[in-house]
């Protein structure tokens, strides 16, 4: 369950305290070097260039992921990227040139190009192929780590050189730079060790110091290891002060953390063909969690026509212009719903919500500067309007998706529209109602210049806090992309970066989440089973009727005298053979597969009906009393009818699932559920796959 830990890393980091904790531990634990680490400056430049490119990946205009559900619990992924080397600036390209590598015939040189980052835990070999199917050479992990370490050493020295204390002789920075170099070498050695070995996620670094009871000593002589370590730690504190750490510590610590937990996948690409298509198989993804056993039992034991719900989460580099997610399952399975949602505008919404709260909290000082408040309010209004416009487009595409489903969910299910006046919109927003309807009306009123003096309305003030809460609760920053694959056993979502990026400076990866409901659609197993159960019921009815010579036995308490057949063997044979033959006609899948999960309940229905007829056959072979025989036939028929009713319930449940307009998932944005007035409880998916931090 490696992915499990990865998913929680953010939470674990928060509890870990100091982000440079691991580095400090190693500074305490490593032997003090007596000579500097030697890294060629070329390595440092290459490492920094790789690090820069691998965070942004802005030379990848398109990214595709092809998912295949292997069985329940494992998903295989094939990742394809379009690489455009022309998007890498020529200066950076000079750094990336593979030394001594010229194409035969004196052609263009080759570059080391990062194409992905993935977790250090996934050590399955990755073979990158280009469009002709040839394997592309890769940089080994060891070399990638070495250049990354060189990059960090270079970055550290840049930071020291530019520090304001570097010319102040008594300061730790000056000592690190000029007089006490062993401490700097120690920091460099610690960084190198950390990058080469990697660091565990969310826990303390295990070091030899945990096993030794070191004698407490005083300050230490100048030049001994204790003072060297103390200076190294003091230097770190000065370079990365904890207060105002946003400036330096957090970016540096975050870089170091990514470098110690992820590998860069670096391919060697020739400059002769700047546009390439690369594809590789990512390490197999295990499912991350299972729903509670009781819930699974209920799904398997009740006639709810279960769907198999798979959720998938990944990260897309923000600079990627197009992202394709395709899913393929066995032909017997239908993809009933496929929906992708990404948090592309989430940062924008968070900034907007913080703006709202700040303005609300400063009502008093801002009140004295009316125009300043008006500017803020107009800025907020313009952004709210834009959000409303965007989400309305998403909703329209979702409605279109519902309408083009094989079994369409028509407009009839959509709630009726309300038309709001500007006062109503402001009143609704003030109460924190950020539903799409209100935002769309707000957008229209804003565009029609209906909201020109907002500072004087009731919106300015505490109402802003409600709007901020409403925006966060409605998850307005999440967009929706729908399936456009005409096949039933496949799905495809095409996500495009919005033409106007709302948080233009951000390089934060976009989190994307896909919801897939897999189901058994017509011609479904349940239909065959219903026919089989009905057939068996008819058979039992027929035999009973023939034996008693009429239909009286069904409802009358009178028992026919010759109910027990003269030759029971023939009846037994019919009762055993017919269900056996019918059962053999049903293709029952293995229980490990997804289809097996979907068919679990229906299979038990089929088995139950066969058990009934078999039991009846055994009874016929053994029982000699007319009364008992009649009762047994009655019981068997009743049980078969109950099973038949269960089958019909399945049909009803299937109809319900088909007409459901919004997936019952906690990851589907709230605004979409609200827009379709979905009040039903959300349910956990059957499988959840987390590929974050890899792409």
């Amino acid at each position: 369950m490696t992915v499990n830990l990865r998913g929680r890393s953010a939470v674990a980091d928060r509890s870990a305290g100091d982000p440079l904790d691991h580095l400090r531990t190693l500074i305490q634990a490593l032997p003090v070097p007596t000579a500097p680490m030697t890294f060629p400056s070329r390595d440092a430049a290459l490492g920094l260039a790789l690090m820069d490119l691998s965070f942004r990946l802005d030379h990848l205009p398109r990214l595709s992921e092809h998912l295949t559900l292997m069985d329940r619990g494992h998903m295989s992924r094939v990742i394809s990227v379009d690489v455009d080397l022309d998007l890498i600036s020529p200066r950076l390209r000079n750094t990336l040139v593979v030394p001594g590598e010229a194409a035969p015939g004196g052609g263009a040189a080759a570059l080391w190009v990062p194409v992905s980052r993935y977790s250090r835990r996934d050590l399955a070999p990755v073979a990158i192929r280009d469009s002709s199917g040839e394997v592309v050479p890769r940089l080994t992990h060891r070399d990638a780590n070495r250049v990354t370490a060189a990059a960090f050493v270079a970055l550290l020295s840049m930071l020291i050189n530019a520090h304001e204390d570097v010319a102040a002789p008594a300061s730790p920075i000056h000592q690190l730079r000029h007089t006490h170099q062993r401490s700097r070498w120690l920091i460099e050695a610690a960084i190198t060790e950390l990058i080469m070995v990697g660091s565990p996620v969310g826990q303390r670094l295990h070091s030899p110091l945990d096993h030794a009871a070191l004698a407490p000593r005083g300050e230490g002589r100048p030049g001994d290891s204790r003072s060297v370590r103390a200076l190294a730690l003091a230097g770190l504190d000065t370079l990365f002060p904890a207060e105002g750490g946003d400036h330096m510590m957090v970016p540096f610590a975050r870089l170091l953390q990514l470098a110690t937990r992820q590998y860069i996948l670096v391919a060697q690409l020739g400059l002769d063909r700047p546009r390439r298509f690369l594809t590789w198989e990512a390490p197999l993804l295990p499912a991350q969690h299972r729903p509670a056993p009781l819930q699974t039992l209920a799904k398997n034991m009740l006639p709810v026509n279960r769907e198999f719900v798979v959720e998938y989460e990944t990260e897309i580099p923000r600079s990627v212009k197009a992202y394709h997610l395709t899913l393929e399952v066995r032909q017997e399975i239908s993809v009933r719903r496929f929906l992708m949602s990404s948090n592309v505008d989430d940062e924008f919404v968070e900034v907007l919500a913080q703006d709202l709260e700040s303005v609300a909290g400063r009502a008093e000082p801002l009140g004295g500067h009316h125009k300043l408040l008006e500017l803020e309010m107009q800025g907020i209004a313009s952004r709210l309007a834009e959000l409303g416009r965007r989400r309305l487009i998403d909703l329209a595409s979702y409605e279109a998706y519902l309408a083009r489903l094989p079994i369409p969910v028509g407009l009839g299910s959509a709630p009726p529209h309300r038309e709001l006046t500007s006062d109503e919109v402001i009143a609704a927003l003030s109460e924190g109602d950020c539903s799409l309807e209100v935002l769309a009306a707000f957008c229209a009123h804003y565009a029609a210049d209906g909201l020109q003096h907002l500072a004087r309305t009731g919106l300015a003030g505490e109402a802003l806090v409600n709007i901020a809460d409403g925006l966060r609760a409605a998850q307005v920053g999440w967009d929706v992309t729908t399936d456009n694959d005409p096949r039933e056993h496949g799905a495809h979502a095409h996500w495009r970066r919005p033409s106007v990026e709302l948080s233009p400076q951000s390089t934060e990866p976009v989190r994307a989440f896909a919801y897939m409901a897999l189901a058994d659609e017509a011609p479904a197993l349940i239909e065959s089973i219903t026919r089989m159960v009905a057939g068996l019921a008819l058979m039992v009815l027929g035999i009973g009727t023939l034996l008693s010579g009429g239909l009286d036995w069904l409802y009358s308490s009178r028992v026919a005298d010759d109910f027990v057949p003269e030759q029971p063997d023939a009846v037994v044979a019919v009762l055993l053979l017919v269900p056996g033959l019918l059962l053999a006609r049903l293709a029952l899948p293995s229980t490990r597969s997804v289809l097996g999960q979907l068919h679990k309940y229906q299979r038990s229905l089929a088995a139950a009906s066969v058990v009934v007829t078999t039991a009846l056959a055994i009874a016929i072979g053994t029982v000699r009393s007319d009364l008992e025989m009649t009762r047994l036939f009655q019981v068997a028929l009743a049980v078969l009818i109950v099973i038949l009713v269960c089958c019909l319930c399945e049909f009803y449940a299937r109809r319900n699932h088909r007409s459901s307009s919004v997936p019952r998932s906690a990851r589907v944005p709230r605004w979409l559920r609200d827009a379709r007035r979905s009040t039903r409880r959300v349910v956990e998916p059957d499988d959840f796959f987390d590929a974050r931090g890899e792409v």
Binding site: D52, F55, A162, V250, L255, Q354, G361, P365
Partner: protein
């Protein structure tokens, strides 16, 4: 300490470091040229002639360039990446070199860039301060008042750890919009080329909106206290640079009173001579406030200023008035900041109490280049003062361009633009120009030119049409010329000339 989810700053740090390491540059080489804007021997050379043209220098083209001209004095700054790392301190500067042109000197040096100066991910808050509504010819008192305001404004930013992205004065004032002037701005009155205005931008973390609001509130309070006009960039979605939201109008009476109260003894005369001081060092927040504060405490005002960061190195270019009573020539000089202060005090001619030295630690090891004292001139007319009678008014024209690196350098481009505008204008000067090397190896720049049209017109609409025709024609001419000049693929040339700032594409640079 928590790790925020944001990795934007980390990737920016990686980028800065990669760019610094990629060009084998441990430092930044810079060249500053000071001189009169329009002497008898032509305009200020914006770049030095290469002393050794045979040398194949891969970095012959400067990565960043800044030109600024005000009061008849000009300064040009260029930077290159440099492999040199062995020098003491964080910045060094050479002796002034005479360029052969009168009063024109070049200073070159090296500086260590500060990779920790991260501001790409910040939200830019741009401010336009109005310090008067007549044409621009500041007195000693106004220069001091301006220094005080620069100090206060940049101090407000420094208190919050917000870097000053750029600061310019004088700049083109923005006419007060009328209710009916909406939409594309085609109806808006033409702007003056130069007015007693100050424009500056700071970078704020978008997630710290409280800090931004506090800054803006204090700015508004400051505007109320001193009476200056305050405009903020329009923060509405889809608004571009050059669109302003008026927070406070200019209060002439209050400004006059504040000026008289604060500097009662300073003469109300327009300086005849001025000098340029360029203060150079690694970028850090609070440096502008420290530099201008130290000068102001010594009774030195600021006539004009152009402050900008290039390659993580800050260049504070100030035009300082020279005391009218002082007769000494004040020759060119370069050296450390602390050594420069007594010299500057001498120029100012008056000595108030010793300044508080505490703030100056921030820039104590910075270097200063001083030009010789030069005669300064002021524009004689503006739309407000001169248009109605003569029609001979300087108008601003904005220029935005994007060209591949190492094709046409910025001084050559500006010369081309001036040549292209020649048929329509009597005079055409570059008031400011700035270009930067951006990601993808393109150089992007913005410039403001001041033109006097060759045809005189009093009618607003006629002038507007003339300006539009002139810029359109010049733009066409440039599009044809540039590919031939630099051997560039015509598809990669992007250039826009416009009499309105907001019609330029957003360039993403500060200038």
């Amino acid at each position: 300490m928590t790790l925020p989810a944001s990795s934007t700053k980390s990737s920016e740090l990686a980028r800065i470091a990669a760019e610094a390491a990629g060009t084998s540059s441990a430092s930044v080489r810079f060249a500053v040229i000071h001189g009169p804007a329009n002497g008898n021997d032509g305009p200020l050379p914006m770049a030095l002639e290469d002393p050794d043209p045979d040398k194949e220098d891969p970095d012959a083209f400067p990565t960043d360039f800044l030109h600024f001209s005000a009061a008849g004095l000009s300064v040009s700054t260029s930077t290159w990446p440099s492999a040199m790392s062995a020098f003491s301190g964080r910045v060094q500067i050479g002796l002034p070199e005479h360029t052969g042109r009168r009063d024109t000197f070049a200073y070159s040096g090296h500086a260590v860039p500060n990779p920790g100066f991260i501001h790409q991910s910040t939200r830019k808050v741009e401010v336009l301060i109005t310090l008067g509504n007549t044409h621009w010819s500041p007195t000693y008192r106004e220069a001091l008042m301006q220094a005080l305001i620069i100090e206060k404004l940049t101090g407000l930013a420094a208190e919050r750890g917000a870097p000053v992205l750029h600061l310019h004065t004088p700049v083109a004032p923005v006419p007060q919009p009328h209710g009916s002037d909406r939409g594309d701005g085609s109806n808006e009155p033409l702007r003056d080329a130069v007015g007693p205005c100050l424009r500056f931008a700071i970078g704020m973390d978008p997630r710290m909106s409280g800090t931004r609001l506090d800054f803006e509130t204090e700015l508004a309070a400051l505007a109320e206290e001193y009476g200056f006009g305050l405009k903020l960039d329009d923060q509405r979605f889809n608004r571009v640079r050059g669109e302003w939201f008026t927070i406070r109008g200019f209060d002439r009476e209050r400004y006059r009173q504040a000026r008289g109260r604060l500097f009662p003894e300073v003469p109300v005369l327009t300086p005849r001579r001025a000098m340029i001081a360029s203060v150079v060092g690694p970028s850090r927040t609070g440096t502008t406030a420290a530099a201008v504060g130290a000068l102001r405490a010594r009774g030195i005002g600021v006539l004009a200023a152009s402050i900008s960061s290039m390659r993580k190195t800050t260049f504070i270019n100030l035009v300082l008035p020279v005391d009218g009573a002082a007769t000494s020539p004040f020759p060119q000089w370069s050296g450390g900041w602390l050594d420069a202060l007594p010299r500057l005090e001498q120029c100012a001619g008056h000595r108030p109490a010793a300044a508080d030295e505490s703030d100056e630690g921030l820039i104590a090891d910075w270097k200063v280049a001083l030009s010789p004292a030069m005669r300064c001139t002021y524009p004689q007319s503006s739309k407000q003062t001169g248009a109605t009678t003569t029609g001979r008014v300087p108008y601003p024209i904005w220029l935005w361009w994007q060209l591949p690196y190492r094709t046409v350098d910025t001084p050559a481009l500006l010369a081309e633009v001036q040549a292209a505008l020649q048929p329509h204008t009597q005079r055409c000067e570059v008031a400011y120009a700035q270009s930067r090397l951006c990601r993808g190896d393109v150089v992007r720049g913005r410039a403001k030119l001041i033109v006097m049209l060759s045809q005189e017109h009093r009618d607003h609409n006629a002038v507007q049409r003339l300006l539009t025709d002139a810029t359109d024609a010049a733009q066409e001419r440039l599009r044809e010329r540039l590919p031939a000049l630099g051997g560039i693929d015509a598809g990669k040339v992007r250039l826009r000339l416009s009499p309105r700032e907001r019609w330029l594409t957003y360039a993403g640079i500060s200038a």
